[in-house]
Amino acid sequence: MTRRGVTRNGMKKRIYLDYNATTPMDPSVREDFIRAFDDYGNGSSMHEEGRIAAKAIHRAREQVAALIHASPEEIIFTSGGSESNNTVFNTMVSPALTRSTHFREAWGGRKTIITTSIEHPCVMESARRLQELGMKVNFLSVDPFGIVDLEEYRKLLSAGISTGNVADKPLLVSIMMANNEIGTIQDIKELARLAHEAGALFHTDAVQAAGKIPVDVRDLDVDYLTISCHKIYGPKGIGALYIKKGKPIEALIRGGHQEGSLRAGTYNGPAIEAFGTAARLAGERLVDYERKTRALRNRLRDGLLAAIPDIRINGHPERVLPNTLDVSFPGAEGEAILLMMDILGISASTGSACASGSLEPSHVLVATGVGPELAHGSIRFSIGMNTTNEEIDYVLNEVPAIIRKLRGFSTVSSKAGSAE
């Protein structure tokens, strides 16, 4: 079958609008990645080959740290965002918390975890694991825009004071900086300040935020922060965790002195080097990226709103990632929309249950209260730094016809968004 999409130099090209899922490698990252395969030495070895690898890793650590305004010694490399998040949660049930008098005094006996109902599954599942292990885990609700409920948050933070029971005091708060589906950005600085006032540790999953909006660990004053390389035009399988100096942390993967004994396993030199380059470029391009993707996002949003009746833009109207546009098309089902777009050369993602093979639509959309009909009919477009106006216009040309077609087949009238 012929490839559909925008013609570029006579070649049919697909229009990829799923950059929140993953990104292609930037050509210079790819170049560094491939070149680094020749630095085969084990970064832990003392000989020349080892020293060459270690030096490259050291430089990459500085570059990754610089992207989030951290010190290099506050960064550990992991296999990705999921591992970084798991490492933080695992720490909360580890001996790390009792290792010093200071730690024991600060967090001993605390058994309450606060997170949100819109986190990535790796945080949700890690939190549920702690629940199984006897912790009290609270999943904060969000408003229709995806912003966490501050009143509920304050109440949970102060629960230990009203009950007088130390177990009710918060040990860890974990709130994602920007949501992967709807793009809503939380006020992490304020949320972290409130957590610290209550004596809790604060973690944020910044996998979707880093490289898209400014992330400054000093300004935010968080204790832990997660980032991933493949969301910022680097290879998959490499991520990092920022751990503020002096905060408790326990190795999830044991048995080696790498990463200050906080993450065992031979250094993945090429991936780490590529991460360094990707982080450097993301930092350099940040202002440009924000300006460019926001203009494309608005073009797509305005075009869809003008061309298709009865649609809904999900997420916060302003506090939103510049590249993320989540849209519900009532009367049309998300998997069907996604696959028709795919046939026409457009790649995006959906919160529909059918696409995941489960019965539940996107937990994020459900948490914002949009209702299952709108959640099943949702499509997330996530724009990249090289997306063009021409590509957005192609999407605006094709998608209205897809929605018209599917709504025509549907038992659901688009207005009501419910049966008949």
Partner: protein, 198 residues
């Protein structure tokens, strides 16, 4: 383009559905109407039939659902034209899946609505015309061969409120001998949840 998610037949019926009613329902007067499924679970199917001499003379449908749900209704609509009501009544999801050239296992439940909507339409036709009901004639699958528990028994148990393997065991004794039918039963529960979903 590399291999698509579904078979070529699914793709063809998805992109060019047959007998779909794109206009309002009232534009196609029918002899029998059946609607099943639930928007909350992501799909719903409506089948309209016209009957002549005990056979399905023509049909139209509407579906809210994913690609495999749309394709399975489309292929069903082709298959039933000219079929006697009795034969149409015993169609089962497996027949539709086979015509589609197979579906991934996690999408089978998207094909179970079509035959149910069709039976509902036939029931409606028979009731409207005060003709003898065909209820009970539909295909049933023996799920638990040790204790002879059928898919119908499980559906009835579901309607009565059973939601888990343990609920079903308490009511029907299913799988209390060898237990080999547990996986198939859980699949069925999944389908029923899809169909009746609260």
């Amino acid at each position: 383009m590399s291999d698509w998610v579904y078979s070529d037949v699914v793709k063809d019926h998805f992109m060019n559905p047959r007998n779909v009613l794109e206009e309002d329902e009232s534009s196609w007067p029918c002899d029998g109407r059946g609607i099943v499924g639930n928007i909350k679970c992501g799909d719903q199917m409506l089948i309209l039939i016209r009957v002549k001499d005990g056979k399905i003379a023509d049909c139209r449908w509407k579906t809210y659902g994913c690609a495999s749900a749309l394709a399975s209704t489309s292929i069903l609509s082709e298959a039933i034209k000219g079929m006697s009501l009795e034969d149409a009544y015993i169609l089962k999801p497996e027949d539709i899946v086979a015509k589609l050239g197979g579906l991934p296992s996690n999408k089978i439940h998207c094909s179970v609505l079509g035959d149910k909507a069709l039976r509902a339409a036939i029931d409606d036709y028979l009731e409207r015309n005060k003709l003898p009901s065909l209820k009970g004639r539909e295909h049933t699958e023996v799920i638990c061969t040790c204790l002879n528990v059928t898919s119908n028994d499980i559906e009835e148990a579901y309607k009565a409120g059973d939601r888990t393997w343990e609920d079903l065991q308490a009511r029907t004794k299913i799988g209390t001998a060898c237990g080999g039918c547990k996986m198939r039963t859980l699949e069925l529960l999944h389908q029923l949840e899809h169909l009746y979903g609260e």
